[in-house]
Symmetry: D2
Subunit: 136 residues, 4 copies
Amino acid sequence: MFISECQIRVRYAETDQMGYVYYGNYAQYFEVARVEALRQMGLSYKMFEDSGTMMPVLQLNCRYKKPAKYDDLLTIRTSIKEMPGTRMFFFYEVFNEANVLLHEGETTLVFIDMKSNRPVSCPAMLAQKLAPFFNA
Amino acid sequence: MFISECQIRVRYAETDQMGYVYYGNYAQYFEVARVEALRQMGLSYKMFEDSGTMMPVLQLNCRYKKPAKYDDLLTIRTSIKEMPGTRMFFFYEVFNEANVLLHEGETTLVFIDMKSNRPVSCPAMLAQKLAPFFNA
Amino acid sequence: MFISECQIRVRYAETDQMGYVYYGNYAQYFEVARVEALRQMGLSYKMFEDSGTMMPVLQLNCRYKKPAKYDDLLTIRTSIKEMPGTRMFFFYEVFNEANVLLHEGETTLVFIDMKSNRPVSCPAMLAQKLAPFFNA
Amino acid sequence: MFISECQIRVRYAETDQMGYVYYGNYAQYFEVARVEALRQMGLSYKMFEDSGTMMPVLQLNCRYKKPAKYDDLLTIRTSIKEMPGTRMFFFYEVFNEANVLLHEGETTLVFIDMKSNRPVSCPAMLAQKLAPFFNA
C-alpha cells in the first residue's frame, strides 16, 4: 500500500452560505491530493499528459461525515491499495487540525492514450514507482 | 416516483484543459437539478432554509460515462424513487442534445433543524407535494 | 450600440459564508452573458474556437454595489458600445428581480489566431453581425 | 508599505479548455493572497468575522499579461500601500517559477460591522499591526 499526505487550507470561495465547504469542492481537494501523491513519488500528472496519457475520472464517491469550515487546515491522506492496471483507485480521508475525520471518498481513474483515445495499461514510469509498495 | 427535468448550458469556466467538463462540476449540476425539481413542485430550497431546515449532503456518487463538453446544452433528469424520511435520495441522469447518456449519479441529503442541529423528518410542505406520487 | 440580456439563477455553490455570491463568480456570469450576446446574433463562442480564433480576456473590472443572493434570478444586460478591432469591449450590468442594479463590470478581450498565437482583427462573421448596430 | 508573498499551485480544476487558468480564478488567488498577508501579520480573516467585522469586496481589477498554466507554482506578491480607513486596498502581482509577471490586480474592500451592516473604521487589531509600516 502507498500512502501520502498533503495539506489544504479552505478558501473563502469554497464555503457556501451554510458556512461549510460546498459539497462539490471535495472532488477538487481529491484532485490536489492525488497529484501530490504522484509528486511524492517524483512524478507529476503533467508528465502523464505531456507523454500522451491522460487520466480521466470514471467514478467518484464522497461521504460527508462532518463539515469542513473556512480557514481549516485540512490534511488529506491518500491511499493506493492495489497496483493499477488500466484503472487506478485512490482512497481519500480528510482530517481537520484536531485530527477529526471529516470526509471519506474514492475515485476511479482510467489511463487513456491521447492519440487513440483508448484505455491503456498503467504507464511504466508509474508502475516502477509503485512496485516496491506492492511486492510480496 | 417523481421525475423532473431541467437544462444546463456548459460554461467555459466549467471545462478543464482536457476539453471536458471538470469532474467536480457535476455536483453543482446535481444541486441545480434538485433545486429545479423542488421548484417544479412549487417549492424552493430557500423556503426550507427560511423555515429553519437545511439539507446538507451526506453522500455523493458520480459515474462518468462520456464527457460533457463546452456549450453543450445538457438535460438533467432527476428522479425521487421513494418518500423521504429523515433522508432524501435523488437520482440524476445527464444527457446531451443527441440524447446520449453522459453521466449518472446519486445524492443522499438529510433534513437538519437549524436550531438544534439535529436530523428531523421530511418537512410537511415537501411530504404533501410528494405524497401523490407515492400513494398505492 | 448592441445590447442583449440574459438571465442567470444564482446557485448554492456560488454563495459563500457571508450569504452572498462570492465576489469571484461575477467573472463567470460575465462569460455566460457575453456568450449569450453572441448567441443572440446567431453566433457562438464555440464557432470562433472551431474556426481557429480564441478570445482570451485581457482585462476585467468588477464593481460590487449590492450583494446578489442565493436563488436570485439575475438579469445581465450586456452592451457592446463600439465596433471591435483586435480587441472587443463588453459592459455588463447585473440586476435582481426587483430591477435593482447590483453589479457593474467590463471585460476587454483580444482576438488571437490559435495557430500563430498572435492578435488578429475581429473575424468577419462577427463584424458583419455587428456592423448594422454601428453604421452611421 | 507592507509586502507579503505566498505560493499557490494551479489546480487542474482551475484550468479551462484553452489550457490556461480560467480568467475568473484570479479573484480566488487574490483572496488567498490577502488572507495569507493578514496571517503573516499574526491575524486571520476569520478573526475579523468572529469579532463582528466582515470585509466584502467593493472593486476588483484584473490585468491578464500572460497565461498561468496547470501545475504552475505561482508566487503572489501582495502590497498594502496605504493605511486603511473604512476601505482597504490590496495590490497583487502574480509570478511563475521563472519569475515572469503573469498577472496584476487590485481589490478594494470595506470594513462592515456585521450587526449594523454599516461601514466602520479599520479594526484596531489590524491598524496596530500595520502602523509600523507606515510611520513617518
